[in-house]
């Protein structure tokens, strides 16, 4: 059953969303340049939510995605990559995807509250949690350095 607009608004404004424990960046299964993490989000309403973070230091680009186990990605912050909305309008390299019944997660906008650079995942994470009303009981560890010339 797809998520309704009202359900999405309720999830986003739910102030009980909580992530416990530190966030540690790890290699992905391909040992690509990107690093990632996945955390369960605990909510009073019992929404089956997870937070997936990915960071590519070579570009650089960051994505924090709020994923519902029943509906897929419903909210996400992208830094370092551009976007085009279904109406053809282009959106800048810092943009947020927001779920709607009409467009699912294809509609994005440029948020005013994100000032972090795409090579600063820690600051980006702090700013992301604020608008998404996510409380993080822990800290995000800095991503380990990678050697770019090992990839290309």
């Amino acid at each position: 059953m797809p998520l309704s607009d009202a359900e999405f608004d309720a999830i986003l404004t739910d102030c009980t969303k909580l992530i416990e424990g530190d966030i540690v960046w790890q290699e992905d299964e391909d040992h690509s340049p990107s690093l990632e993490f996945k955390k369960e989000i605990i909510t009073a309403g019992g929404w089956p939510l997870f937070l997936k973070g990915t960071f590519n230091p070579l570009v650089p680009a960051i994505t924090f995605a709020l994923i519902s186990k029943t509906s897929g990605r419903i909210y996400a912050l992208d830094l370092g990559k551009g976007h085009k909305n279904p109406d053809g309008r282009r959106v800048g390299d810092t943009h947020k995807h927001r779920w709607s019944e009409e467009f699912k997660d294809k509609q994005a906008y440029e948020p005013e509250d994100i000032t972090a650079a795409p090579d600063n995942p820690i600051q980006a994470w702090q700013q992301f949690c604020q608008e998404a009303t996510i409380q993080h009981n822990g800290r995000m560890h800095p991503p380990p350095p990678i050697q770019g010339d090992l990839f290309l």
Partner: protein, 242 residues
């Protein structure tokens, strides 16, 4: 239109192509000695896929599709990056086109993910069993010692032996506990099938794409069945054919 700009050590090429959510597909060029230019997505396509899925690991079907797509378009899939080389300036456009098309097609693998389609993990298991050429029956009805009727997700008939598979999949911890208890009760009531002249192996297949299973859940099902994790499908294959 393709838009080029300097991006650190690379030249970024913003293609007119989009990932399924509308994000632009960007490629990156880097020139080395002897005039060879490498065109790559720097792993952005795989990163885009990983950002949209909860699965810890790609399914064998998805891995096979990536390999097939890479071969079709003559690109290399190396450490999660799509790459093509061009030693002639006149061949650069061709390399950009090939990597672009490979990135576009691979990103469409999101539609083989359960979160984007109606396919369940049980459907994925069915696909897996087909790829192994193992005959199976879905939703097998069996009567337990209590007289209760149970529906088992799969009965698999391998040359070496036959097995029953119960798939444990859940989106929440509380539901996971209930499912675990239900599966344990199922195996307990069907235990006579383990002792028959044609004994069946009981396999509990845990969908560990979500971190909802506790150590106690695993201990419970391990006490009465063989356990495999869906993130390591090779284990299931071994249990079915050992």
């Amino acid at each position: 239109m393709f838009e080029c700009s300097v991006n650190g050590d690379y030249v970024r090429v913003r293609t007119p192509f989009l990932y399924p959510d509308g994000d632009f597909i960007d490629l990156f060029l880097k020139s080395a000695n002897q005039g060879v230019t490498t065109v790559s997505d720097l792993g952005e396509t795989v990163r885009w896929l990983n950002s949209n899925t909860l699965s810890a690991k790609r399914s064998p079907k998805q891995a096979g599709l990536i390999s097939d797509i890479s071969q079709t378009h003559g690109v290399e899939f190396f450490r999660g990056m799509l790459k093509a080389r061009s030693s002639e300036p006149t061949a650069l456009a061709d390399a950009v086109t090939r990597v672009s098309q490979a990135a576009l097609r691979i990103s469409d693998l999101i539609f083989t993910s359960r979160l984007r389609s109606v396919e369940s993990v049980t459907d994925e298991v069915a696909d897996f069993l087909q790829e192994l050429y193992l005959p199976f029956e879905r939703n097998k009805k069996l009567i337990g010692r209590s007289g209760k009727s149970w529906r088992i997700d799969f009965q698999v008939s391998a040359p070496q032996k036959s097995s029953l598979i119960s798939v444990l999949s859940s989106g929440s911890r509380s539901a996971a506990q209930q499912i675990t208890k239900s599966v344990v009760a199922t195996w307990y009531d069907l235990s006579q099938y383990k002792a028959s002249p044609e004994p069946l192996t009981f396999i509990s297949l845990v969908d560990d794409s979500a971190d909802v299973w506790s150590e106690e859940d695993f201990n419970l099902v391990e006490s009465i069945s063989d356990v495999a994790r869906w993130s390591v499908p090779e284990t299931l294959s071994q249990l079915l054919t050992a």
